[in-house]
């Protein structure tokens, strides 16, 4: 490989370790797709099985879920900007954009928790019926993923501040970027497939 080509390749792809980790993470994401697909399928099969619990149409609100969607979509955008800044080699703006991403992720999580508490207050809990079990586990699994991502990102921020942009840290940031965008895609399906449909049926 000529030195020109090396320059074209982003830093995270320049070592063999970096390349393999990224391929491995893509395959892991494929497994995650199957995991969420199974949860969506379970939700679809159990749709309408409310038993004595409230109907989702009465609980879901367009406004709050739309706000959550916008927050998460924006966080995906800021995460993309962060990787862009990383490619430019600017540690400071990389850190700033990642911290914005983190803040947006945290506020999404706050909204989701208050949503769940609201539903529980209205009598829709994990235990109330098959439908609500499927709802809470599907949305909750996404929420747990976001929580995990937040913790992970915090650790990477510390490593970035300590070490700057190296082939290892850039690989780590790139991979958490993939993870974060993936969670965004899953949320779009939850927003449309669960919330929007749940509101009208």
């Amino acid at each position: 490989m000529s030195s020109d080509e090396m320059n074209v390749k982003p830093l995270e792809y320049q070592t063999e370790d970096g390349q393999m980790s990224i391929v491995g993470f893509w395959i892991f994401l494929a497994a995650e797709v199957v995991l969420f697909a199974t949860l969506f399928a379970t939700y679809a099969v159990l749709f309408g099985r409310y038993s004595d619990a409230p109907v989702p149409g009465n609980l879901f609100e367009a406004k709050s879920t739309l706000v959550m969607t916008l927050i998460l979509l924006t966080s995906s955008f800021t995460c993309g900007v962060a990787v862009f800044e990383m490619r430019r080699g600017s540690v400071k703006s990389l850190l700033i954009w990642l911290i914005i991403t983190l803040a947006l992720g945290l506020s999404f999580l706050g909204f989701e928790i208050s949503e769940f508490m609201h539903y529980a207050g209205e009598g829709a809990t994990l235990q109330s019926s098959a439908y609500w079990s499927a709802f809470f586990i599907l949305a909750g699994t996404h929420g747990v993923h976001v929580t995990f991502g937040i913790g992970w990102l915090m650790m990477l921020l510390i490593q970035l501040a300590r070490r700057g942009i190296t082939s290892v840290t850039s690989r780590k940031i790139f991979i958490i970027g993939l993870y974060w965008h993936f969670l965004d895609v899953v949320w779009i399906f939850i927003f449309t497939g669960v919330y929007l449909i749940g509101m009208v049926v």
């Binding site: 063999e16 491995g24 497994a31 995991l35 159990l46 038993s51 586990i137 490593q159």
Partner: protein
């Protein structure tokens, strides 16, 4: 909770089991202490990230599990030998058929095959290790501790008793209260993490780390079967993860997925379970196909017939494996149309499988067959597996399945494919690659004894079960009626024949360790693929110089041209990963977490989970770069292994 609820009480057989566990663990602790081997155990094995050592640990554990689940099987066969036997009561019988099935699939078949993949695949593709050695160690320990968590159930808390398929509502909290079923859920969940990680790891290894020149269609066929298997693992195991998690949440946190209350849907479990479960069948058979292909090509001294077609049939089988799951419950009543679709897709699998059978036969055709023990396992596989396959097509016809369903006909069918396919494959693979692992071949004479005992025992055991099924004997009954007596007693005799065959196999390991000639050439079978190009024992870096591959059967070609893979002028320092105890510790903590969840001690489980997360965090901050082996060290190792140690002086 009192101690009498914690420990299983009142069963003499289980008391005997407890005594055996205490004695065996005591003996191991004593021997390790007496010979001062604790440090050795920790440094050389428990913290190793070397794929060869991890592979050996997988296989040792799998053999232990084969012993445990085989004992279950013999106890079942003893109970069924005569009408109205009272060897086991109904509850104990339920527990034993559950643990037999679960252990054989999860803790015997898969780890055995994954162990062979661990040892062989990097060597076959000319790589120095897995793509992610640390993750590989994590995978092994997750399997190991998952298996321990599951196995401890028979003395602490009680074994699961709802069958290895654990159908709801029977397996739900209402009908199976107590910790037994939780052991099943958490043991499998823990080991499932490792299996998924191994799938990803192997896929990256094979896709990214092949020696230069080895294109996909020049890969050895076992590596191909591993690649396809890891693909199936990656797309099937998340389904099991979800299914197990949902049932766990049902049982421990009161959700309503598979319950009879709250409009839950018990048959949803059967769907989820088999959407994973059928691909799983191919996860344990495709690698065996790969092993047989290697063994047959080696001992027929021919290139595998129809290599490309063999690969494409593997791919086709893998694709179809995701489209047939409903055939496990045709009688659920999904309707004629659905059953017809799944009936057709099921029977379609027979086509690529048949292609493979004929390709093996064509490889053997007009060849000079060397009947080594490994080859005999492969030769026995072809007709035995075909019987299992054909009866599988019979079961695949939905209308006929209403008669066969849950009868011994089914039991005979899947033992014919799983034993004749997977178990014969594991034995063939172990015998075949044994010299690469341990530096000496297994004794052929004793090996053939174990072969004949096991194979004859196998047919005597399972052939009668087809007819028992046709006579109407259902599975999972613990009393037989006099009409079924003759065939049952024959079957039991066969089962003990298999047990004897296994015992002789294990004895052969000991005997060969003591008496077998040490292997010096690195290539005792005059074989064809790259793993035989390395010296024996394989150095930790596998290949001093990464070989260049020009054709299929790379090593065979090199031998024809008089080349070796070693070229001292091309040596460079080799980068190696450091050993680490974290995978062991992390999985031990997760096993503790699982154990706490089994007894629904939620806060203890939360603490365990935090502990595991802390270890992941430590790993994230760890920038351990590994170390390099110097050219001088490589030279020394290679010269002594290649019998040129005098030149060094």
């Amino acid at each position: 909770m009192g101690l009498d609820e914690f420990f299983v009480t009142g069963e003499p057989l289980i008391y005997a089991g407890m005594v055996a566990i205490v004695l065996v663990s005591g003996a191991i602790i004593f021997l390790l202490t007496y010979f001062k081997k604790w440090k050795w155990l920790w440094r050389e094995w428990l913290t190793s990230v070397d794929h060869k050592k991890i592979g050996i640990m997988y296989i040792l554990s799998a053999l232990a599990m084969l012993f445990r689940a085989g004992t279950d099987a013999l106890m079942m066969r003893t109970q069924l030998a005569f009408p109205d036997m009272n060897f086991l009561d109904a509850q104990h019988y339920n527990e034993i058929f559950t643990t037999h099935g679960t252990i054989m699939i999860f803790f015997m078949a898969m780890p055995f095959l994954i162990g062979l993949m661990n040892i062989v695949v990097p060597l076959q593709i000319g790589a120095r290790d897995f793509a992610f050695p640390y993750v590989n160690a994590l995978s092994f320990w997750s399997f190991f501790f998952g298996a321990m968590l599951f196995n401890v159930s028979f003395v602490i808390g009680g074994s699961p008793d709802a069958g290895w398929t654990s159908y709801t509502p029977l397996a739900g909290a209402a009908m199976s209260p107590g910790p037994g079923q939780n052991f099943y859920l958490l043991g499998l969940q823990l080991s499932g993490i490792g299996t998924l990680a191994t799938g990803i790891n192997l896929m990256v290894t094979i896709l990214k780390m092949r020696a230069p020149g080895m294109t996909l269609f020049k890969m050895p066929i076992f590596t191909w079967s591993t690649l396809i298997t890891s693909f199936i693992i990656t797309f099937a195991f998340p389904i099991l993860t979800v299914a197990l998690a949902l049932m766990t949440v049902d049982r421990i946190f009161g959700s309503q997925f598979f319950t009879l209350t709250g409009e839950g849907l018990p048959m949803m479990w059967a769907n989820l379970f088999w959407m994973w479960g059928h691909p799983e069948v191919y996860i344990v058979i495709l690698p065996a196909f790969g092993i047989f292909s290697e063994v047959i090509a080696t001992f027929a001294k021919k290139r595998l017939f129809g290599y490309n077609v063999m690969v494409w049939s593997l791919i086709l089988i893998a694709g179809l494996s995701f489209l047939v799951w409903v055939h496990h419950f045709f009688t659920m009543g999904a309707g004629a149309f659905v059953n017809s679709v799944f009936s057709v897709s099921t029977m379609a699998i027979a086509v690529p499988t048949g292609v493979k059978i004929f390709n093996w036969l064509a490889t053997l055709y007009k060849s000079k067959i060397k009947t080594t023990t490994a080859m005999m396992w492969a030769l026995a596989f072809i007709p035995s597996f075909t019987i299992g396959g054909i009866t599988g097509v019979m079961l695949g016809m939905a209308a006929a399945d209403y008669q066969f369903h849950n009868s011994y006909f089914l039991i005979a069918h899947f033992h014919y494919v799983l034993v004749a396919g997977t178990v014969f494959g594991c034995f063939a693979g172990l015998v075949y690659w044994y010299p690469k692992m341990f530096g000496h071949t297994l004794n052929e004479r004793i090996g053939k004894w174990s072969f004949w005992l096991f194979v004859i025992g196998f047919h005597v055991c399972f052939l009668p079960q087809y007819f028992l099924g046709l006579d109407g004997m259902p599975r999972r009954v613990f009393h037989v009626v006099p009409e079924w007596f003759n065939l049952n007693v024959i079957s039991t005799i066969g089962a003990f024949g298999m047990g004897l065959g296994f015992a002789v196999f294990v004895y052969n390991i000991y005997y060969s360790y003591r008496h077998s000639e040490r292997e010096k050439t690195g290539d005792p079978w005059d074989a064809r693929t790259l793993e035989w190009a390395t010296t024996t024992p394989v150095p930790e870096y596998n290949f001093a110089v990464i070989p260049h591959v020009k054709s299929h059967d790379a090593y065979w070609d090199m031998k024809q041209k008089g080349e070796t893979i070693y070229d001292e002028s091309k040596l460079e320092p080799i980068h190696m990963p450091n050993s680490t105890g974290r995978p062991f510790i992390m999985m031990a903590i997760l096993a503790f977490t699982g154990f706490a969840l089994v007894f629904e001690w939620i806060w203890l489980a939360v603490a365990g989970l935090i502990g595991a997360l802390v270890i992941m965090g430590i790993r994230s901050f760890d920038y351990d770069e590994g170390y390099h082996i110097s050219v001088e060290d490589i030279k020394r190792t290679e010269r002594s292994a290649r019998g040129q140690s005098h030149e060094l002086r």
